[in-house]
């Protein structure tokens, strides 16, 4: 009995992987056919990067690290925050494309086929994570082009940074997928996902927490973006990480679990 069960389970797993891979390829095909959506989402972090470095950079650098800081110090401060912000802005695309899928008849077709049930969501999640990683490479390239350097980080720190980015991306993607599932149409999904791009603006991405007015500091401090940004900054530039690394991890795990439960329960509900 048990010997018969193992191949059955293995083939079920391989079918699940195969179906998810099919759905992933469909989503990547959409991205390739319609790159304007991804580029639009990329525009915000790149514009902000250039704006804050070249327009506000001179003033902003005066506010960090006491006296003597210049524009290049502010680039170093800003880039980790903008990388994390890029994650938030890119996953909005996942919310919109999930919602587009759900409002069309194609998902109903998938539901009446003998395919792995989770493949639709897995395809969206993996597709979105890959899209975010590609966006990060682009934003990172712009950052390097305007003078960002992270020469002190060790290989281990780079690996940890990559791990943190991946986990944070996964967490925000599942939340975005849940938002897409919960929205009646793509416009609503895009609105609902707006906090993912607004929260980094009120985090430690642009200015240190202590430079923010006192009454506002708790909002900036106790949200997922700040510990993730502080951790990444520490890994890439050697600044103080403190408790931020485990707070960031707790946020990642918590948001992933929440987004996963939310998305799958909405997906498994009887469609209208």
């Amino acid at each position: 009995m048990s010997t018969a069960q193992i191949p059955a389970r293995r083939s079920r797993l391989s079918l699940a992987v195969r179906d998810s891979n099919t759905m992933l390829r469909r989503n990547l095909l959409h991205v390739r056919r319609y790159p304007s959506m991804t580029l639009n989402l990329l525009l915000t972090p790149i514009m902000l990067l250039l704006l804050f470095v070249y327009v506000f950079g001179g003033v902003m650098s005066a506010g960090i690290g006491g006296g003597g800081a210049d524009r290049s110090d502010y680039i170093a401060y800003l880039v980790p925050g903008l990388l994390i912000m890029t994650i938030g802005s890119t996953v909005i695309g996942a919310a919109v494309s999930v919602s587009m899928d759900m409002t069309e008849g194609l998902i109903a077709r998938f539901r009446t086929m003998a395919v792995y049930r989770g493949s639709v969501l897995v395809g969206h999640v993996v597709g979105s994570v890959l899209q975010v990683l590609a966006s990060l490479v682009l934003v990172g390239a712009v950052a390097v082009a305007i003078g960002f350097r992270s020469t002190d980080a060790t290989v281990l720190e780079w690996l940890a940074a990559f791990g943190l980015i991946s986990l944070f991306t996964l967490a925000l993607t599942w939340i975005a997928v849940g938002m897409g599932m919960a929205s009646p149409n793509p416009e609503a999904a895009s609105n609902m996902a707006t906090p993912l791009i607004l929260l980094p603006l009120i985090s430690s991405a642009f200015v240190p927490i202590d430079a923010i007015p006192g009454w506002f500091q708790p909002i900036a401090e106790y949200q997922p973006f700040t510990p993730a940004i502080e951790t990444l900054r520490g890994l890439l530039l050697g600044t103080e990480i403190g408790d931020n690394w485990w707070i960031a991890l707790v946020w990642c795990v918590g948001l992933t679990a929440l987004g996963y439960r939310w998305s799958t329960s909405l997906f498994n509900r009887d469609p209208k």
Partner: protein, 323 residues
Amino acid sequence: MTTTTPRSLAIAAKGLRKAFGDKLVLDGIDLAVPAGTVFSLLGPNGAGKTTAVKILSTLITADAGELHVGGHDLATAPQAVRAAIGVTGQFSAVDGLITGEENMLLMADLHHLSRSEGRRTAAELLERFDLAEAAKKPVSTYSGGMKRRLDIAMTLVGDPRIIFLDEPTTGLDPRSRHTMWGIIRELVSGGVTVFLTTQYLEEADELADRIAVLSDGKLAAEGSADELKRIVPGGHVRLRFTDPAAYRSAAVALREATSDDEALSLQIPSDGSQRELRAILDWLDSAGVEADELTVHTPDLDDVFFALTGGINVPNQPKENVR
């Protein structure tokens, strides 16, 4: 019907019930569709046709009922049911962002066909549904009829033995409708079982071996097209008058006609054939009757419904369906 087991039928439902909130949509209906036949569920908008298809195709769950499709229990083996069926819903289930060919290859991948087999099946079906030329174009540029054809082509990729078609011709122009009928007939000749919903009696008449009339969540009647037509009062010729005096004298002259004093109109039973019409016209001439308007009515879904429901309670039947 009591002697057939669920397994010898392609689709078998007993006591199918479904309510959305406090609105009862399907009130315990029984269906039995033998393999290799076309079964048509006929009914107006809102009668519950789509709900029945959604339940039988595993999209939503029933509240109650013993349901078998392809010999598999819907409640306990939905994946086995899914492997046996193909579904074309009322709203096009195609991916508009990619090309027709990519849509077909997507289906081939989801049916776990090998690469070469998938390409061959996709090419064959695109050719068969007259989409080979448009295969490399994004589906968003397709016309309504082309999207419908692609939809059905996608449904056929896994070679399903039971096919659900939910109002396959609604919204199609007459030419596309006839093309669709040809497609459905071809499917049946290949031995598949077709479960079709429609609001048009004519369509059910053209295609179905058996027709069930759904009204307010209940089966009002079931039988072959001929059996159903016997329930329906025959067609008639309607004469309308504007002058009450002319109407009165005509009503006296044509005593066989049913008269409607308020509308100043007379109805003469007729099957609408050329021979009968000529006879009626000759008779009108010889009786010296000159109507202001003469119209020929053939039995339609409205008549079936009036006959089956006693002329009341035709839910949401829009006027434009009277054809």
